[in-house]
């Protein structure tokens, strides 16, 4: 007797809807310049496409390199070598490996064009998009902008352009980035990650009880979704 309704803005569910028809909530901690986050996103999406139920996703902020200047001048290899003490050969091999795996899920990473930066403004913008029910669209745009398109995702003007490309108001984007009204939301997400003990991304919290770390295979994500659905069954339509 579900009256669940789908539309482009989200999911509306009547109070009497069964547990089985209620979307499974997945909270994802992620950073815009995290290559495994984009790959993990694709693998999770593949699992969700196979899963017969509905899934509701909320992205949360996690800054992998908060000390990086907005206009960092080096390449990703420079960053790994100069700041993390990884040899240039090893850094290059790591990038080759992640680029190959990205390709396997249909993502064409262009590391030569990447602008390493500080992502705190991108996270603020994602919280603004969430307040409008448009976070998923902006998240995808920012990840593609960084890894595929070689766009800058650290400067307010560039971020506002990207927001406009997914139909959000460019001037309003600039305004929210100027007054940092969503910075407390970023800080809350970072604090929440610490409270969960999350020390790397991507990290998926399914229904507030299962934690999945890293860019797992789609089968793992599907298994968790099916487990949650099965656990709901006893409290389903019989109520």
């Amino acid at each position: 007797m579900s009256t669940t309704t789908d539309d482009s803005q989200g999911t509306a569910t009547a109070p009497a809807a069964s547990a089985a028809s209620t979307p499974i909530k997945v909270d994802i901690w992620s950073d815009v310049q995290c290559p495994w986050c984009y790959i993990g996103k694709r693998r999770f999406e593949a699992a969700a496409a196979e899963f017969p139920g509905q899934v509701e996703v909320e992205y949360h902020s996690f800054e992998l390199a908060p000390d990086t200047p907005v206009d960092y001048e080096g390449t990703p290899i420079d960053y790994l070598s100069d700041r993390k003490g990884i040899s240039r050969d090893q850094a290059s091999a790591m990038i080759d490996r992640v680029t190959g795996i990205a390709d396997s899920v249909g993502l064409d990473y262009h590391y030569d064009d990447i602008h390493q930066t500080n992502t705190v403004l991108a996270h603020e913008l994602l919280h603004w998009a969430k307040s409008l029910g448009r976070q998923l669209e902006l998240k995808e745009r920012l990840l593609k902008a960084y890894f595929v398109d070689g766009r800058h995702v650290g400067r307010a003007e560039d971020l506002a352009d990207l927001a406009a490309e997914v139909g959000l108001d460019r001037d309003e984007a600039l305004a929210v980035l100027a007054d940092h009204r969503f910075l407390p939301a970023v800080k809350q997400d970072v604090a929440q990650a610490a409270a969960y003990g999350i020390n790397g991304v991507p990290f998926f919290v399914v229904e507030g009880k299962y934690g999945v770390s890293g860019a797992q295979e789609s089968a793992t994500f599907l298994q968790v979704l099916e487990t949650v659905a099965a656990e709901r069954e006893p409290a389903g339509e019989t109520a």
Partner: protein, 68 residues
């Protein structure tokens, strides 16, 4: 249509304090992950450089201090 939906619109929090968090049941094997600016495949790439939950707390403190 994608089965994945946006979470409902939410207001910005008034506080940056973490909400109470239940313990999580971890699922899955070791998988590629990014820690402290280093993105690695377990067993193939270098171990992550000294990051733990404390580093996330340090980020909050630095945000609070207006450093970031």
């Amino acid at each position: 249509m994608s089965p994945i939906e946006n979470a409902g619109p939410v207001d910005a929090p008034l506080s940056s304090t973490a909400a109470p968090t239940p313990a999580l049941t971890l699922v899955g094997a070791d998988a590629p992950v990014c820690v402290d600016g280093v993105c690695e495949i377990p067993g193939l790439d270098s171990p992550p450089v000294g990051a733990d939950a404390e580093s996330a707390r340090e980020v909050v403190e630095r945000l609070d201090d207006g450093i970031l």
